[in-house]
């Protein structure tokens, strides 16, 4: 055990963890919006819209995240037309490519979580809203969405942790996140175990925090059924 290396690498890894958290939070916010959008499409009765939303979640859940990042980072740059548009400002940055891939990926999982949450809402609650003369729009925003959020909290908590682990793939497109820096230190010092303990410890600590925040929210928003 090389304690000195562990102590020395700790601040470096900690500052890299900030990048991991940044990647995670930005992609979760965008992913949540995408997920909500596609969950609503899934509930649509039009078969084409429905199939389209299903296809999106099937493709993104059925392929590895690594392939998705590579397609966006290496693949899209190949299209000449894209290079001449404003989009290129975003797509030439590995940071944004990683975020787009993460957001689309987590969006697919989130849409499934939210869809099943919407479908488990008891019809009686919606009927109650209707009989009170509340408009459909307000029923959706004030009754369906809050209940769906509560229902999907445990599954969404898991998704956040999976996504946090997923951000480690950003290191494959040159970003120096927690895993990227850990790999760099390992390959320069050849002390994999020590670095793994420190970096893994930081990841576990983040998992622990996320887990407890979700548990707290679950308690706060729980209701007796």
């Amino acid at each position: 055990m090389d304690l000195e290396l562990m102590i020395n690498s700790f601040p470096k890894l900690l500052s890299a963890a900030v990048i991991t958290l940044k990647l995670l939070s930005v992609s979760l916010i965008i992913g949540l919006l995408i997920g909500l959008f596609f969950a609503i499409l899934r509930l649509n009765k039009n078969i084409f819209i429905n199939k389209f939303a299903y296809g999106y979640s099937y493709v993104f859940r059925g392929t590895p995240l690594l392939v998705q990042i590579f397609i966006i980072y290496f693949g899209l740059g190949q299209i000449e037309y894209l290079r001449s548009t404003v989009l290129w400002v975003i797509l030439k940055e590995p940071y944004w490519c990683a975020i787009i891939a993460f957001a689309l990926n987590t969006g697919a999982y989130t849409s499934e979580i939210l869809r099943s949450a919407f479908q488990t809402i008891k019809p009686g609650l919606i009927e109650a809203g209707k009989s009170l003369g509340i408009s459909n729009k307000i029923i959706f925003y004030k009754i369906q969405i809050p209940i769906a959020i509560r229902q999907s909290l445990p599954a969404y908590g898991n998704e956040i942790i999976l996504m946090m682990k997923g951000t480690s793939l950003a290191s494959t497109v040159t970003l120096m996140d927690l895993t990227g820096v850990a790999k760099y230190i390992i390959s320069t010092t050849f002390k994999p175990v020590e670095v793994f303990i420190v970096a893994g410890g930081i990841y576990l600590f983040m998992t622990f925090i996320i887990h407890n925040v979700i548990k707290y929210l679950e308690k706060k928003y729980s209701f007796s059924q």
Partner: protein, 230 residues
Amino acid sequence: MELLAFGDTGWGDELFYATLMTIAVALTAMLIGFFFALIFTPLKLSKNKFLNFIANSYTTIIRGVPELLVIYLFFFGGTGAVMYVASIFGYNEYIEINAFITGAFAIGIISGAYSTEVFRGAIQSIDKGQFEAANVLGLNKFGKFFKIILPQTLRLAIPNLSNVWQITLKDTSLISVTGLVEIMRQSYIAAGSTRDPLFFYSFAAVLYLLLTFVSMKLINRLEVKYSRGY
């Protein structure tokens, strides 16, 4: 399409073998995972606090740390660890472990943590009466486990194990960082030499989709088989 031709002019045969490699790694990793689950599930269910602690540490650490980090640990640390063990037995030559074993082992340990949780959940949800009935029938430990508990566990575990299989299959793409030529690595090579990354990575995505699709169909059949009578 000529990019996918078999033979020297295209990448069809290379990608075909790479797909077989992905399947081989995923199956090996899944089996290694079952082996780990076989060890750690009893520890999780045991009443001994210390054994519980060991099993919980295993599943918590593996499920809380990114797969890529675990793979780096094995990739950079595997050779060292094996050489250290060998040196205890007096063997001091350089030992190189091949990428397949390192990769399958790393993914296997990850897959094992998920399988352990699945088996634990399945065994815990079996009705207590089933254990008691087995005792009343006078079955020995062996018969009790294989005739009564295991078939019911499998029925409950298969849907979740199919999720573990999906995760394992997708995780194999990460082994490409160690240089093992599976779908991802082969696409990387092909994309580099043809300067057509969009096509090859999209094709890789299609291959993965095909693998998940076919394996889901096969697993559904198993599910039907094990839920006879329900």
